[in-house]
């Protein structure tokens, strides 16, 4: 009798474990599918000026005494990367932004922006990062106008002064997705997937919006 009970407990444990592993495997597959279906673009936030509308126009003094004109018409698109000397992820992203600006230099002007704090600290940061040749502004207002919440954040303003894309950027893929968004006319990868998968729903939604 006891042997039979012990044996049945062992069998039940095995079954519980197998089922547990199976449920985990299924959840894991769903996670992997998420990754495959939607390559990560820059994380869009709903706050701030809308993509496709005119970006706020501002004229701000840069750290080295020049002026940076944000928005309005220009001969090239403008990529503004919001960083902070205290943000470790930003440090990893600055060289990436420089590389992107170099490869797209014909049509993209890169600028850096940060909110308040000790100017000396920002100067040291500019030197450390080797970004002396790009405009660097310290402005609370700029961040507020674009409603920047989390760093590193990037906004891309087209040559016509229209906000082309924006979002939280953590790596090169995210940064490039912003430029891609400008070229393709899709607001985000999610927007692209949505229109590709369900063109009729996207069309009806656009009709509602207009």
């Amino acid at each position: 009798m006891t042997e039979a009970l012990v044996a049945s407990v062992v069998v039940l444990w095995v079954v519980v474990l197998v089922l547990g592993v199976a449920v985990f495997a299924l959840a894991r597959q769903i996670g992997v599918l998420h990754g495959r279906l939607a390559p990560a673009g820059a994380l869009m936030t709903t706050a701030g000026p809308k993509v496709g509308e005119l970006a706020p126009t501002l004229s701000i003094e840069t750290l080295d005494g020049g002026t940076l004109d944000v928005g309005g018409t220009a001969d090239a698109a403008q990529l503004i990367l919001f960083v902070s000397p205290t943000c470790p992820v930003c440090k990893q992203l600055v060289p990436t932004a420089k590389a992107l600006a170099r490869s797209e230099r014909r049509r993209l002007r890169l600028a850096f922006a940060s909110d308040g704090g000790d100017p000396e600290r920002h100067r040291r940061y500019v030197q450390d990062m080797g970004i002396e040749k790009y405009p660097y502004v310290v402005s609370l207002e700029l961040g507020m106008r674009f409603e920047v919440g989390k760093l590193p954040y990037a906004v891309l303003v087209g040559p016509d002064g229209v906000l082309r894309s924006k979002g939280l950027v953590n790596n090169r893929e995210h940064l490039e997705s912003l430029v891609e968004a400008m070229d393709s006319g899709f607001e985000s990868i999610q927007d692209y997937l949505f229109r590709e998968e369900r063109p009729e729903r996207a069309a009806s939604r656009e009709k509602e919006a207009s």
Partner: protein, 178 residues
């Protein structure tokens, strides 16, 4: 008085959890510092020190939970640390900063009240380890119960983490489409 076997299972599971967490925090270095800074609870200057200290503390807890002499103390300390994490999450949820990464692992998981539930269950487990246990000799039937129970806890933990990640990704998608 709770049975010593139950304590052993819970202590081993928590030790595994803390060891994995400590290893991850130590390895990801600046990334974890950024996640910690986003909680906005510590002065900036303290963040790198705190990140290292948390990793070391978790490793010490993992070892402490395995040694019988330090087990009750480590259990109580583990409950405290887990409650502290829960508190940090709760504060940021109340502040409305629910978009920050919880810093639980490599894949970003946004803050949600489910994390509080998860931590609450862990705190209960750690408190059970801290309670005095009735000592008794362990036999082979305990091994038969203990090993599968530990495995089930590990699988359940991995499952909870995975489901939180999935929910997080889904939330980002639905927000991006609104």
């Amino acid at each position: 008085m709770i049975d010593v076997l139950l304590q052993l299972i819970l202590a081993a599971a928590l030790a595994l959890l803390f060891a994995a967490a400590a290893l991850h925090k130590w390895r990801s270095g600046p990334f974890f510092e950024a996640q910690l800074a986003e909680y906005r609870l510590l002065p900036e200057a303290l963040v790198p020190v705190a990140a290292r200290a948390l990793a070391l503390l978790e490793l010490a807890l993992a070892l402490g939970l395995l040694v019988p002499a330090t087990r009750p103390l480590a259990g109580a300390a583990a409950a405290g640390l887990l409650a502290l994490y829960g508190g940090a999450i709760a504060v940021n949820l109340v502040r409305g900063r629910d978009w920050i990464d919880c810093g639980c692992g490599d894949t970003p998981v946004l803050l949600t009240p489910w994390l509080l539930l998860r931590n609450g269950v862990l705190v209960l487990g750690a408190l059970l380890v801290a309670l005095p246990a009735r000592a008794r000799p362990l036999g082979w039937t305990d091994l038969l119960l203990g090993v599968p129970a530990l495995l089930v806890l590990v699988v359940a933990w991995a499952l909870v983490e995975q489901l939180l990640e999935n929910a997080s990704v889904l939330r980002e998608w639905s927000q991006a489409r609104d």
